[in-house]
Amino acid sequence: MGEKILMKGAEALGEAAIKAGCRFFFGYPITPQNEVPEYMSKRLPKEGGVFLQAESEVAAINMVYGAAGAGARVMTSSSSPGISLKMEGISYIAGAKLPCVIVNIVRGGPGLGGIQPAQSDYFQATKGGGHGDYRMIVLAPSSVQEMVDLMGDAFDLADLYRMPTMILGDGMLGQMMEPVEFKERKPIALPPKDWATTGKKGRGKQNIINSLFLIAEECEEHNFELKKRYNEIEKNEVKFESYNMEDADVAIIAYGTTARIVKTAIKRAESKGMKVGLIRPITLWPFPEKVIAAAAEKVKAFLTVEMSTGQMVEDVRLAVNGQKPVYFYGRTGGMVPSPEEMVAEVEKILG
């Protein structure tokens, strides 16, 4: 502990999961996150855990479903097309109220797309890519260290609320190397997994993990119960970073890799006499709408920058609620916006 090492984002995710008590990993390879399964295949057997390369993403997510049902801390990892394949299983896991961690290292889409970094899976992650009235907690790190720190949160939140939690990164975060430190985490009080299918152990009733509710009234009740949980999360678990917002004229809203580039752009804009701040959502769901709404009273305009053609910008507009103009700048398909492009957009806004 405390010693820094140099890791790729994808490797750091693997080590952080092991440190968070994850002993089961089921996955199927896809670029640009192959270093996660690669790392897990080397490390998990040494920790007495199980690494299994499934025959497909569909099989992998159903293995996650099974292990989570038995109360294990379990993770899977993939990139965009692979996550699409996992969507049915994710919906089942949400419906069965099971905790697990899913990593998506996003690449350009739609379809097979390419292998370069993108942020075009925001809708899929935050609006329920699978079917039904479910939500996932979505964490969006913007450095390798933050990937490590959020992994512990991801497992804790999943256990606390009994639901799937996603870490949404992009190819850049997955592939880049940065020094990381694995800090000792304070354990938080978690509810016992008395629902897990680990044998009756003298109880009268067996535990059954299922997402089937044939009686409409019961299915509605189940959904209301989930919704109650989601409301609680929206109240308690919002995370964001506010940077240089004190006297900003333009607030840029960006997450992940894009937010890192925004910080460079802010410094360059400053040298040209422009006051620009950044609100960086760390939880994409729940979305930090209150801080954005509050900023709308102070700034002249908002600029959302994404590696997509405009997805998160919809949530920004909802949060701003017409108080100030919301502009958008995006690169997509694996292209990464440069600090210069961002400064030019701010210049256009400030006229």
Binding site: K4, T31, M176, E178, P337
Partner: protein, 261 residues
């Protein structure tokens, strides 16, 4: 069958080692003002190592250095492991300087396919070229060298393993040996010497280099290997040159930077 295969490689390797020994005893470096010129006996230089150990940065820097010395250089991007941060991303810039960059062409350059360009054999066989091979990481990346085993085993080459003691799998002796043996077995070639590349990315300080290099020194000694040079980011190299009198310091400029730098 497997054992027979492996031990025959080792016997072959021993024979080869004597030949390499001659190279080690040759005074291959001389100190110059502001740094050291690293010299090579063979025209084929193979850079292997753990993925993320810094092979690509070192290969690019070596290519530029040797190019500046007036040699005709081909930099071969043989990375079949990494999807990003590969030598091919520097193709345009390096080719302007006259360095030939050999990598999959067109759209294939951006693919995650184990595509190996037929041009590689071309530059290996063309004796007018000094060839630097930037091999993919770990034993998995070194597999691609197997394709050239037939040629390499009958020609003079130098194979180096880049080690960064701050990387998770080469932090200790056990991990290092496993990595080295994996690379040697899957490439069916032998590592001649190490390249010490201790760094913590953008956070690297003098003390990290000293601490990381000490580990590599120990690894090298215990495995009877030489260290070809100590690679140091150019901003720190002057301080380090003053510290080490008996090892060549190779200052490197970093090229594979994230988009916010």
């Amino acid at each position: 069958m497997q054992n027979l295969f492996v031990s025959s490689i080792k016997l072959y390797a021993l024979g080869f080692y004597n030949f390499k020994f001659y190279i080690f005893n040759f005074p291959f470096c001389r100190r110059q003002e502001g740094g050291v010129t690293v010299e090579f006996k063979s025209r084929i230089i193979i850079i292997t190592g753990n993925f993320g150990s810094g092979k690509t940065e070192i290969a690019i820097n070596l290519a530029r250095k040797l190019n500046e010395e007036g040699k005709k250089i081909a930099l071969v991007d043989l990375d079949i492991v990494n999807p990003y941060f590969r030598s091919r991303e520097m193709k345009e810039e390096l080719e302007k300087e006259g360095i030939r960059v050999v990598a999959p062409r067109g759209a294939l350059a951006q693919a995650d396919l184990p595509a190996i360009s037929p041009e590689i054999m071309g530059v290996l066989e063309d004796a007018s070229y000094h060839v630097i091979m930037d091999v993919g990481g770990d034993d998995l990346g070194a597999v691609a060298l197997g394709r050239f085993h037939g040629y390499l085993s009958t020609h003079s080459y130098e194979m180096y393993m880049v080690v960064n003691a701050f990387r998770p799998f080469t932090r200790d002796e056990g991990g290092f040996v496993e990595m080295m043996q994996g690379i040697e077995q899957s490439s069916r070639l032998n590592i001649d010497a190490l390249i010490s590349n201790p760094n913590l990315g953008a956070e690297t300080q003098k003390d990290h280099i000293i601490q990381g290099h000490q580990k590599v020194l120990t690894m090298a000694q215990q495995n009877h290997l030489d260290i070809k040079f100590l690679a140091v980011e150019e901003g720190l190299s002057q301080e380090i040159i003053e510290l080490y009198k008996d090892i060549p310091i190779f200052p490197i400029k970093l090229y594979m930077l994230p988009p916010w730098c």
